[in-house]
Amino acid sequence: MPEPLIFNKSQRGQRGIRFPDSDVPDTGPALPERLLRRRPLRLPEVSERSVVRHITILSRENFCVDTNFYPLGSCTMKYSPRCNERLASLPEFTDVHPYQDDEGCQGTLEILWRLQELLKEITGLPAVSLQPAAGAHGELTALLIFAAWFRSRGEKRKTVLVPDSAHGTNPASCRIAGFEAVQVRSDAHGLVDVADFESHLDGSVAGMMLTCPNTLGLFETRVAEIARRLHDVGARLYIDGANLNAILGITRPGDWGADAIHINVHKTFSTPHGGGGPGAGPICVAEDLGPFLPSPTVEQAATGIYHLRPGGDQSIGRVRGFLGQVGVLIRAYCYIRRLGGPGLRRVAENAVLNARYLRERCRKDLDLPYNGECMHEFVLSAKELKDACGVRALDIAKRLIDHGIHPPTVYFPLTVEEALMIEPTETERRRTLDFFADVLHDIVAEARKTPELLHEAPHTTAVSRPDEVRAARELDLHFDWPEREPQIHD
């Protein structure tokens, strides 16, 4: 039987935890009656045991990196080391208020300062803000910095170039930052079509957002040239660092002429994905953009004391409250220090090696629309299979679940029909890659023989193919407590 909603486990009078009675003299109602809650609040009434059992059972209905191969392209589902978890969870870190005086949080400030220095070295860009809460937030922050930089020069530019293979966050960030996203075509090799790129270049372009390696897993070989051409018209180059994990210690965006980059620490630096966050999206920028970074940044005084430095007149302000995703950033610091320089390089090498090996094993079974040398991920297409027997990328994804494999990213990038985007990461062993390739091979054979089996997959899970159309039409986003006491399922 599926685990009921926690509301259906509610039992009148039941409690998880209780608080002590007040130890201060009762001085009567603290607040006037008119400000107090009238409509009573209804929350489940459950014991601690109920809550623990509920969440433990539910968590087993999830695939996760700890239990399953999770080759979700672009999301870098690498293993999250436990020493980082333990260290970041020390009460000396977690039990600190953001407005604690600097002297009472020197440990955290030193870690953040050191992390800033490390990120400068890793990206080759000399100024850092740790504030953005996730990758897309970093994108927005950097675009706001571009806008502020132009404003400081008395210029207002309208557009930002975005390749057609870009993450959806790129054009969305452009709009929120007040820019219009202009799409640049990919060429036959899956790279930026430089001629098309140049045709858009003029004085209205504020910059370009480029993912490198791109979402097909290909290195943009002409990235330095693209940077130069942008700079020629006074525009700036933003690198979407979603795939920085592929090039750690191999090559640095700063050395390409990039002006800004965000880093997804939950991808590149192994902080856990948390079922959809928290991440952190620090950004590194060129020297002349440094004064525009959000406020505050961490600084070390001549005395060796660390402190928060508020942004100056040119700072864009702040993009969230307080410092940033500190707990996540501490994990990233641990990861980088554990590995050291050569260790980071080996991460990139093995991310690429695993992807290249798996691609070699899978390309017999599905089409590889772009066969340039891939980096940490690759994109297959099920178009031929769909034309031949009506089996789509989605069906393959769902069938993989029956084999205990989390599906790859599907239908992205948009430049590939029936796309399956596969990123094995460096933390998986060869045997797992072989297993995936064998399963994929069997699934493709099944597709040709018994396509209906795939249309109805998965078969082994508690639920199969939730009705998304009905979900959007009938829109049940909230449990309504019944008038009568619900039946208890506990």
Partner: protein, 444 residues
């Protein structure tokens, strides 16, 4: 080597399968001129044991709240976190999945989010909540963008009694758009309604207030909501979720979009994050809400099941037309909030809120009796108040610090002219002895 799936000899074999001689050959597509010569200048690798020692040494340079008696607040509060919240949220099954794109492999996450959405909507007396945003501050900025999209009007009004960092964040988000941000000053700690009346017009998308406000005051916002609605603008409120155990829910007085900092709901202070952006609204606005939404539906066998819904609002489908650029949000923090609310229940939340209020009022009343101190505003407050000193506030705080008391947030930190004022927050964790110690220390 740490964290790699394959030992070197297997890597060699794999390179061989690919017809490559070395790892360097994997990067032939990176132009030679762009490749790093040598390794990154990063300190040498450490064993787990060395790292452990290194980081614990740094940790020891912090002074955690538990080693002091803390009255710091201003948006982040030192509430009690039940053990089950910590331990369940630390499980591998909780921390290592990702966004539930594939429903069949993510029913646990999806159901939890549905439960979370229900609890947050109910807490605020609203109809729907999303599956989380980054934090309360950026959630307020998202709410302003949402109100602009709903009303198609440019002007955003914000009360000066909103947290100064929220106002700063709003400025940052709106500066490069055609929006106009108008700040309304306060009188005696409450939003000045006369000025609101002057600036509200038919170009106004929304007015944003905070409850309790930055100074801890529970403003009466009925009038303000009415004024906004009368001219077709939306009322947006940033509301402390713990206060909902005691105070009127914003849904009861007509607020259209509610946001909040979810940190008080079982999330450690962590020196600023990760936190949790709460957002709830009316059902009619659900298509303009930013972020993920989990829905209940049925699967192909007719079984109850859960999936993400209205994804056409989102960036991965809608690109530049999306309601927001948000992708990764705060799933694990939403889980913590859901666990916290389940464990304390409605009664427990009311207990916490009452304890906070009773203790804050006890401390305020006793402090007001001390010569040279007064409570700056007469308006009703919840768990936080402004202490006015007849001397520089930093001197008072230093005196308290000598007794191991972190006496509150110096308001001059935000408003330099307020150098004789302290924002004092009291949670259920403070005991009477600790409150008396505060009083005794300022009497010296």
């Amino acid at each position: 080597m740490a964290y790699l799936g394959n030992p070197p000899y297997i890597q060699e074999e794999m390179l061989h399968v690919l017809g490559l001689r070395s790892h360097a050959d994997l990067f032939r597509s990176v132009p030679e001129a762009l490749r790093l010569k040598g390794d990154l200048n990063v300190p040498p690798m450490m064993s787990e044991m060395e790292l452990d020692r290194h980081v614990r040494r740094l940790a020891a340079r912090n002074r955690p709240a538990a080693q002091t008696i803390s009255f710091l607040g201003a948006g982040v509060y030192d509430h009690f976190i039940p053990a089950a919240v910590e331990l369940l949220a630390a499980r591998g099954e909780s921390i290592t999945p990702y966004t539930p794109y594939q429903a069949e492999a993510s029913q646990g996450t999806l159901q939890t989010l549905y439960e979370y959405q229900t609890m947050i909507a109910d807490l605020y007396g609203m109809e729907v909540a999303n599956a989380s945003l980054y934090d309360g501050t950026s959630a307020a900025a998202e709410a302003a963008l949402m109100a602009r999209a709903i009303t198609r009007r440019p002007k955003v009004i914000v009360s000066q009694t909103v947290h100064p960092e929220t106002i700063e964040c709003l400025k940052t988000y709106l500066v490069n758009t055609d929006a106009e941000l108008v700040t309304v000053p306060y009188r005696e700690g409450c939003t000045d309604l006369e000025i609101v009346a002057n600036v509200l017009d038919d170009q106004t998308a929304c007015i944003l207030v905070q409850l309790p406000n930055f100074f801890g005051i529970v403003e009466e916002t009925d009038k303000l909501v009415e004024m906004a609605h009368a001219i077709g603008a939306l009322a947006v409120a940033s509301v402390n979720p713990i206060s909902m155990g005691l105070l009127r829910a914003p849904g009861e007085y007509g607020v259209d979009i509610v946001v909040g900092e979810g940190q008080p709901l079982g999330i450690p202070m962590n020196m600023g994050g990760p936190y949790l952006g709460l957002m709830a609204t009316r059902r009619e606005f659900v298509r303009q809400i930013p972020g993920r939404l989990a829905a209940r539906t049925v699967d192909r066998r007719g079984n109850e099941s859960f999936c993400l819904t209205l994804q056409t609002r989102e960036q991965h489908i809608r690109r530049e037309k999306a309601t927001s650029n948000i992708c990764t949000n705060e799933g694990l923090m939403a889980l913590r909030a859901m666990l916290y609310l389940s464990l304390v229940g409605a009664e427990g939340l009311a207990e916490v809120a009452r304890l906070c209020a009773a203790k804050a009022h006890y401390l305020a009343r006793r402090l007001a009796e001390v010569k040279g101190f007064e409570i700056r505003y007469a308006a009703p407050f919840f768990n936080e108040f402004v202490l006015q000193c007849d001397q520089p506030a930093d001197r008072v705080l230093a005196r308290l610090a000598k007794r191991g008391i972190c006496g509150g947030v110096l308001l001059a930190r935000f408003y330099p002219q307020m150098d004789s004022r302290i924002l004092v927050a009291v949670t259920e964790k403070r005991t009477r002895d600790e409150l008396d110690a505060y009083i005794e220390a300022v009497q010296q």
